[in-house]
């Protein structure tokens, strides 16, 4: 199979762009390219990653200004035509601001910036992002954010739950959803969701920080492997 072209958007203030590039290129052995946010097009990318960081210094609201970057118009078009987009951390915030995913990410309930490994339960393994997992699998992947407290109105929550758009929830090491295991106060322990058509994923945890065996944690690879598999069976 030909290598996939993975485009990683670089906003001013992105800081996980090179990690994502490294994992895509070196660990997953695909073609990765950084796309400066001023570019008008994502080019021939098969997959777009909006990486973590602090785009535009998180001014106004996280992701609020980045979503007006020139390249975002093409990302919205790409997503609308079924292209795979994954937003990690700040990228998730950008996706909600751009209206590609429902809800918002509020300030962590504790007001603290939290950077640590934690556990995620795979809620839906029948997605292009989780096909290499089984439902209920517990992944150990780190978070690093101050605004990851997922919130949405009750009607939207019901809709995304009914459609199985909740892909990951924070859990303890055994997979139980508890208040202690919910690091930021997210509604229903939500850590990652996808859009209705299943081609746009947003998640607060950083799979690219848990992909290189040197770091001892490789659960994040399952997400990248799933994405690659989704092209094999296309």
């Amino acid at each position: 199979m030909a290598k996939l072209k993975i485009g990683i958007v670089v906003f001013p203030g992105s800081n996980c762009d090179h990690d994502a590039h490294y994992v895509a290129e070196t660990i997953m052995e695909q073609d990765a390219r950084l796309i400066w946010h001023k570019e008008a097009s994502i080019g021939d990318a098969d997959i777009v990653i909006l990486p973590g960081g602090f785009s535009y210094g998180d001014y106004l609201r996280c992701g609020a200004i980045a979503r007006f970057s020139p390249v975002m118009r093409d990302v919205v078009r790409f997503a609308g035509s079924g292209g795979l987009v994954i937003g990690i951390c700040n990228g998730f915030q950008v996706l909600t601001e751009a209206g590609l995913l429902p809800g918002v990410l509020l300030r962590n309930k504790s007001l603290l910036f939290i950077c640590k490994y934690l556990h995620l339960r795979v809620e839906n393994a029948a997605t292009k992002f989780t096909s290499e997992c089984s439902p209920g699998d517990v992944l150990e992947i780190p978070i690093a954010h101050g605004e990851g407290n997922y919130f949405t109105d009750p009607e939207t929550l019901k809709r995304i739950e009914d459609n199985q758009q909740v892909v990951f929830r924070y859990c303890d090491r055994r997979g139980n959803l508890t208040d202690e295991a919910n690091p930021n106060g997210s509604l229903k322990s939500i850590a990652g969701i996808m859009n209705e058509t299943g081609n746009v994923l947003g998640m607060m945890p950083h799979p690219e920080r848990a992909s290189d065996p040197v770091l001892k944690h490789t659960d994040g690879r399952k997400i990248f492997e799933s994405i690659i598999q989704s092209f094999v069976y296309q």
Binding site: L60, R61, A64, I65, F68, T96, E97, G103, V104, L106, R107, N108, K109, S110, L111, F151, T152, D153, G185
Partner: protein, 84 residues
């Protein structure tokens, strides 16, 4: 030329942990009777036009599309002519 002021506040239904923290500070300062502290944002800007209605419309549009995220925030705004 017009001058607009925009106030962005978290909706009542949204928990405001920052406001809660500040409220605790106010209580520690000795003002125990203070409650419902909420944090918001204040943005001001000049708009170069001669038409009041247009300046108001622009302010509203900017607020809805960028300054506030209506999922969690609401806003109020005023637009006044700048006295030369």
């Amino acid at each position: 030329m017009f001058h607009s002021k925009v106030f962005v506040t978290l909706k009542k239904s949204i928990l405001d942990p920052q406001g809660k923290a500040v409220e605790q500070g106010i209580h520690s300062l000795g003002f125990e009777s203070v409650g419902n502290v909420r944090i918001g944002k204040y943005i001001e800007m000049d708009i170069d036009t001669d038409v009041h209605g247009e300046a108001e419309r622009m302010t509203k549009q900017i607020s809805e599309k960028l300054l506030a995220n209506l999922v969690m925030e609401s806003f109020s705004c005023t637009t006044e002519p700048v006295k030369e």
